[in-house]
């Protein structure tokens, strides 16, 4: 076995001493990695570090944290992100399973629906929900047509209005990794389960779902983290009186004198994102799901 391991660990170009020496002398790792790392440091690390500087300028943190509206918005945002990711996790897994077990024609239709959704502009999707929510829009037309309602529907710009739209927007991020995980299941495991007399529910619970866990969690964590910072959809659909954190930051973005507060709020949001991401990475190896 040693023979093969020895060969496999040698990077192209054949130097494995220190990465630095290897990069300079042989395989070019340094030449390839220095530009993107510099790029990311200048354009990711520096701007985010600059937020710290801004927040400390004008006692931004105490202003932000002392603000009742901001504290409420943090809670609102967490509830939204958590609810959306749980719903997306459940519906996404169901959809991925349906994709895998549907008869061919249905499966193709489901795939087309998924990719149509995935490739449709986020704004167009959000706009679609706006139309749907119009007081005399499609929901009203259908209900009215069925004789169920006469008064216009009032859902637009309520906090709850953002929920279905967010789930809708986020679904592909769970469906795709879970579907990929289903394709990688070993058919022999399923056959073995069946031969050993496991019923459908037992097979699902003990054989299928445990092996999909990392795919499901990778998707759900991504959805949670993305939902925390989502701006456009809640802004267009949600309630103006119950803003999300991102909307608050946006509102004080250009307001003179509020820069430091906005920076502090950004950092709080960022901190939540990083804590969730790092914790999830530790537990579920999320970056391995994405970074391969």
């Amino acid at each position: 076995m040693n023979d093969t391991t020895a060969t496999a660990t040698v990077p192209a170009g054949g130097r494995l001493a220190s990465p630095l020496r290897g990069a300079l002398g042989g395989n070019g790792a340094l030449w390839l990695l220095v530009p993107p790392v510099t790029f990311l440091v200048l354009l990711l690390v520096v701007p985010l570090g600059f937020l710290v500087y801004l927040a400390l300028q004008d006692s931004g943190f105490s202003k932000a944290l002392g603000d009742e509206i901001f504290r409420a918005s943090i809670w609102r945002t967490l509830v939204l992100a958590a609810t959306v990711s749980v719903l997306t996790l459940i519906f996404g897994t169901i959809y991925a399973m349906a994709l895998a077990i549907a008869p061919k024609g249905v499966a193709i239709a489901l795939l087309i629906a998924l990719f149509t959704l995935f490739w449709t502009s986020l704004l167009v999707r959000t706009y679609g929900w706006m139309l749907l929510y119009l007081p005399q829009g499609p929901i009203y037309s259908v209900l009215h047509g069925l004789g169920l309602r006469d008064a216009p529907v009032e859902v637009f710009q309520k906090t709850a209005a953002a929920y279905p739209a967010m789930v809708h927007v986020m679904l592909p991020y769970v469906v795709l990794p879970v579907y990929a995980a289903i394709r990688q299941l070993d058919p022999m495991h399923l056959r073995a389960a069946r031969v050993l007399g496991a019923g459908p529910l037992l097979t699902l619970r003990k054989v299928v779902l445990p092996q999909l866990r990392s795919g499901i969690m990778a998707g759900a964590v991504l959805v949670f983290v993305m939902s925390l910072g989502f701006y456009v959809t809640p802004q267009l659909l949600g309630s103006p009186t119950g803003p999300m954190v991102a909307s608050l930051i946006g509102a004080s973005f250009n307001t003179p004198g509020e820069t430091s507060t906005a920076a502090a709020m950004s950092l709080v949001l960022l901190a939540v994102v990083i804590v969730v991401y790092v914790a999830a990475d530790r537990v579920f190896k999320v970056s391995e799901q994405w970074g391969r």
């Binding site: 706009y127 706006m130 970074g291």
Partner: protein
Amino acid sequence: MMDRELRDGLGLARIPFLVLGVVLGLFMLVPLAIVVPTSWTAGQLLEFPPKGFSLQWYRAVFDDDTWTGPIMVSLRVSLFASLLSTVMGTATALGMRRLMQGRTSRVMRSLFIMPLAIPYVSYALGIYHLFLKLPSGLADTTLPLILAQATITFPLVYVVVAGALANVDPRLSSAASTMGARWPTILWRIELPLIKTAIIGGWVFAFATCFDEATLAIFLSPVDQTTLAQQLYREASESIAPTLSAVSTMITMLAILVLGIGSLIMGRGTAARRGGNA
């Protein structure tokens, strides 16, 4: 094979999945199914169901520089941003392949994936104020937006290209080096040709993401240069009109066309590569 075993293993339990799946599939298509018909109304107001059929609102889009200007801005910004992220993401994937697996490479990979997770508003705030501090009025150009969009699409390209590289036999590079090839030759003659389709795919993906990106554009684009996504946002938050539906329908069709063709090319590329290794 897999699908059949899953179907048999789940027995009747698959019926609820199937039913819910179809319901969810319809749910996915609902917003689009409303937007598209409202764009062809013959009336003056946005209505559902639409009144009659006409293409007047499509014509209106092209006659109106409210829309044509932003389309050009979006094309330009997305092109530069996606090219930048494609070069950077590809270089990263190629460089990471040359590093030994270890702690350093794990930390670096976390850095590379991070732009996927950061809240755009926070990021925009940092970029905006940083550029304000720079002299020479760079904050009033599209440069901050281009750089920010390049940063957030960087992980997309990296993930796609690294995935393709994982399917390239590392011994091909060793073989080339025993034949006298230095790393630039290996890069140019062996690695890049083999991951060509993935790079193009990553670029298309990055371009589409930049084109669709609104949050960074809202906060970073200069006053006189509005992107299409930003314009859509602006119009949608002010007044809902049939032109908006027409623009939405067009960009959706275009996106599906471009991304669909892109995926087909990518799919064929991977299939061909797999055939080569077998």
